[in-house]
């Protein structure tokens, strides 16, 4: 386990900026292994952009790139996302 790896709490501000709603309590089901869990508990890596990985299988759940006025989000690693409305 990498010391540099943080969790979903570390990108809570970015996610709320993008989705306009608090996302760390959202529950994502991994498209790789099927395990559900709160976004707060996913593993977060910072590369050129941000990668959210399943804490059980390492599958890339989501990728986020933030430009100055645009953001790109790939959520294809999440089979389904449950949010409170």
């Amino acid at each position: 386990m990498d010391e540099l790896m943080l969790d979903g709490n570390a990108v809570a501000g970015l996610l709320q900026e993008v989705f306009a709603v608090e996302m760390t309590t959202a529950v994502g089901t991994c498209g790789g292994c099927g395990a559900p869990g709160p976004i707060a508990a996913v593993h977060v890596y910072r590369g050129a952009g941000i990668v959210l990985r399943c804490p059980h299988c390492g599958n890339a759940l989501a990728k986020i790139v933030k430009g100055d006025s645009r953001a790109w989000i790939d959520l294809t690693g999440i089979r389904v996302l449950e949010v409170t409305v």
Partner: protein
């Protein structure tokens, strides 16, 4: 909790420094006034952004140390030796000056008295900050939820909020320190890193269905969470927040 989604895009606000409190040789609390502050919950954090004259920017996240208190927000900041942001916040920023801040952020690693307990808080170093917000919120509400804090520090000099924790102890709050690097003469407390044996001794039994919040560096949090699961605690009851190099 239905219908309690935190809504709205975060916006950058201007926060004015009101007061600086020295906590330890390397740690200070900066108390800010944020005019449009909507209030916050214990465990939430803020993002702080600095901008240089040529447009260069850096952003960092800091946990809120204070219980809700109108427009006042206290951040406890550890001054990193070669830090890009922390030395500015602890040593350069003067009362009356302003920084950009957005928040409150977070909905997972939060606790309020209505969430109940027994509550077990496990802190590694500066990971104590959001847990202290929980303890202060509990105290302000005169709540008596059974609460224990297991707090790991390098030495006695590094213990943040030491006097206040002592003062708040009792009324259902127990504080257990472990000092991992050096201990004062006559120290009878724990003197090693948090391990499964220590957690078994300090934490409530699984049958009591405690709620755990563990915060600190990634290796610390991972080890604590794993140990708690091995002790028979329910994984969803263990909430973690990892501290580490942040910013962009």
């Amino acid at each position: 909790m239905a219908g309690t989604a935190v809504r709205g895009r975060l916006t950058w606000e201007l926060a004015e420094l009101v007061e600086v409190v020295v906590e330890t040789p390397h740690v200070k609390t900066i108390v800010l006034d944020v005019p449009s502050w909507p209030g916050h919950r214990a465990g939430q954090h803020v993002d702080v952004r600095l901008t240089a004259a040529d447009g260069y920017q850096a952003e960092r996240s800091y946990s809120i140390a204070s219980a809700p208190d109108g427009t006042r927000v206290a951040l406890t900041v550890q001054r990193l030796e070669d830090g890009e942001v922390s030395p500015y916040l602890t040593d350069e920023l003067r009362p009356g000056e302003k920084i950009e801040l957005r928040g409150p952020i977070g909905g997972y690693f939060v606790w309020e008295p209505s969430d109940g307990g027994p509550l077990m808080l496990v802190a590694g170093g500066s990971g104590v900050v959001p847990l202290m917000a929980m303890i202060r919120t509990r105290a302000a509400a005169r709540d008596d939820t059974e609460t224990r804090l297991l707090y790991s520090s390098r030495s006695e000099d590094d213990v943040i909020y030491r006097d206040e924790l002592e003062r708040l102890s009792g009324n259902g709050l127990g504080v257990v320190h472990t000092l991992t690097d050096s201990q004062p003469p006559g120290w009878t407390g724990y003197a090693r890193r948090v391990d499964p044996e220590m957690l078994a001794e300090v934490a409530p039994r699984p049958a009591q269905r405690p709620r755990f919040y563990a915060c600190g560096p990634t290796p610390f949090v991972e080890a604590v969470a794993e140990a708690l699961v091995r002790l028979g605690h329910d994984p969803p009851a263990i909430k973690t927040e990892r501290f580490g190099p942040t910013g962009r």
